[in-house]
């Protein structure tokens, strides 16, 4: 669907000129990683499970931040309405936002990930597997978060509501991503790939569900 690509391109272009979403997300991850190594001590922080869990929790919040920023920008001057008023606008909105956020998150995850590896001095058992797990994990997060931000769009207290709605639903993704990352760090190839497969399934299922029902919920 090239309309989805058009919406994604529009989003990315706006983000490039106003990169506050990306900046906030990367800063958030960096702060969290630093905080963690200070609070629990470098020994525990370097544990593969702990480091993975923290990374993915941080990334989940980063996704929420970036998505909310994206839609806040849409609400300024009613830009969202301009898009929704176009024929096929509602249908392309979900796909376009998910695609653009996935791209932004790949960037955020890469920077945040490299930062974590360096700051925590983590040994990486299987770099290729790590890349696959992180990539698929990043694809699995935006569909849910975009749905929740759309649902909470014109409500009060949406900054609090979106995490409440999104995080329980994201638990399977976060479990799979954490286990997969941990497996890749410690050299468990089979484990890493099976979790990666699961992440791919999540990404597909939630994207399909979102594409089907979200247009009805957009106003």
């Amino acid at each position: 669907m090239d309309r989805i690509v058009l919406v994604a391109a529009r989003e990315l272009r706006a983000e490039r000129r106003q990169p506050d979403g990306v900046v906030a997300a990367v800063t958030f991850i960096a702060v969290l990683v630093l905080l963690e190594s200070l609070v629990v001590g470098p020994q525990i922080a370097r544990d593969a499970d702990v480091a993975s869990a923290l990374f993915w929790l941080a990334l989940a919040f980063a996704t929420i931040l970036a998505t909310m920023r994206s839609f806040d920008r849409e609400l300024e001057d009613d830009a969202l309405e301009g898009l929704v008023a176009l024929p096929g606008g509602r249908d392309a909105l979900f796909g376009g936002k998910v695609l653009s956020l996935a791209i932004v998150l790949v960037l955020v995850a890469t920077i945040g990930g490299v930062l974590s590896l360096v700051l925590l001095d983590l040994p990486v058992g299987l770099p290729a597997h790590l890349l696959i797990v992180v990539l698929l994990g990043v694809l699995a997060l935006p569909p849910i978060v975009v749905v929740d931000v759309v649902l909470a769009l014109r409500l009060r207290a949406r900054a609090a509501l979106v995490p409440i709605l999104a995080l329980p639903v994201l638990v399977p993704q976060l479990v799979a991503a954490t286990r997969g990352t941990s497996a890749a760090l410690t050299g468990d190839a089979v484990g890493a790939l099976s979790w990666a497969g699961l992440l791919f399934a999540f990404a597909v299922v939630y994207t399909v569900i979102g594409l089907t029902i979200v247009p009805a919920a957009i106003e």
Partner: protein, 223 residues
């Protein structure tokens, strides 16, 4: 287009008293059986009896969730306010029973309540989402979309928590319910308990749905 007329032939007010009596009666029977009639467990003694509360509560938590899903689909498909009424009723009753389940569980079994807490939080999120919306039709649609996503997520959460942990809560509960080591009288007590709790659910549902339909009626008579 939203169907604005109430369902004709609303039988709920007539059935409800009977449903209430049946629910109360079977609850008394089930409780008596659970407390006195069912034999004492060889291994766990009398503490195990909370299973007769625990398992039905789990069953209701799931049932209520599934009903929210079906009603959500019903609303999105037909836009009939009746489905929205069923969804909110089931969510409110569901959050109550899931909460009770968590309380009962903390008395009886070891924790790793991850899954159930997640369901509880999803129920709460659903009700919060509704609570913050002001407009009837948008609230119903928002809630329906979230209801569908949340419920689809629950089996996925179970599976992933299962795979990831060696301790898991669900099989413990199911094992207790379906194990061949379960005495036949224990099984019977459990079945009766499930039946009683289901009737209680049905009674609460009929009351709550009627209330919601009445509220909707007051709204739509303006138009």
């Amino acid at each position: 287009m939203i169907e604005t007329t109430l369902p004709r032939g609303n039988v709920l007010p007539r059935i409800r008293p009977w449903l209430g009596i049946a629910a109360a009666a079977s609850f008394v029977v089930a409780s008596v059986m659970a407390l006195f009639w069912a034999p004492t467990d060889a291994v766990q003694g009398d503490v195990y009896r909370i299973l007769y509360v625990h398992v039905p509560l789990a069953w209701l938590a799931y049932l209520a969730f599934v009903i929210v899903f079906l009603a959500s689909v019903g609303w999105l498909w037909t836009k009939r306010p009746f489905f929205d009424a069923v969804a909110v009723a089931s969510a409110e009753i569901g959050v109550l029973f899931t909460g009770l389940f968590l309380v009962a569980g903390s008395i009886w079994a070891k924790p790793t309540w991850g899954v159930w807490w997640i369901m509880f939080v999803m129920y709460v999120g659903y009700l919060l989402l509704r609570g913050l919306s002001t407009d009837f039709s948008r609230r119903a649609t928002r809630a329906a979309v979230f209801g569908i996503i949340a419920v689809i997520d629950v089996p996925i959460v179970h599976l992933s928590v299962l795979w990831a942990n060696s301790l898991h809560q669900l099989p413990t509960v199911l094992r207790a319910a379906g194990s061949p080591a379960l005495d036949s009288s224990m099984l019977l007590t459990l079945m009766i308990s499930l039946f009683a709790y289901t009737l209680i659910y049905a009674y609460f549902m009929s009351a709550r749905v009627s209330l919601e339909l009445a509220r909707q009626g007051r709204l739509w008579t303006q138009t």
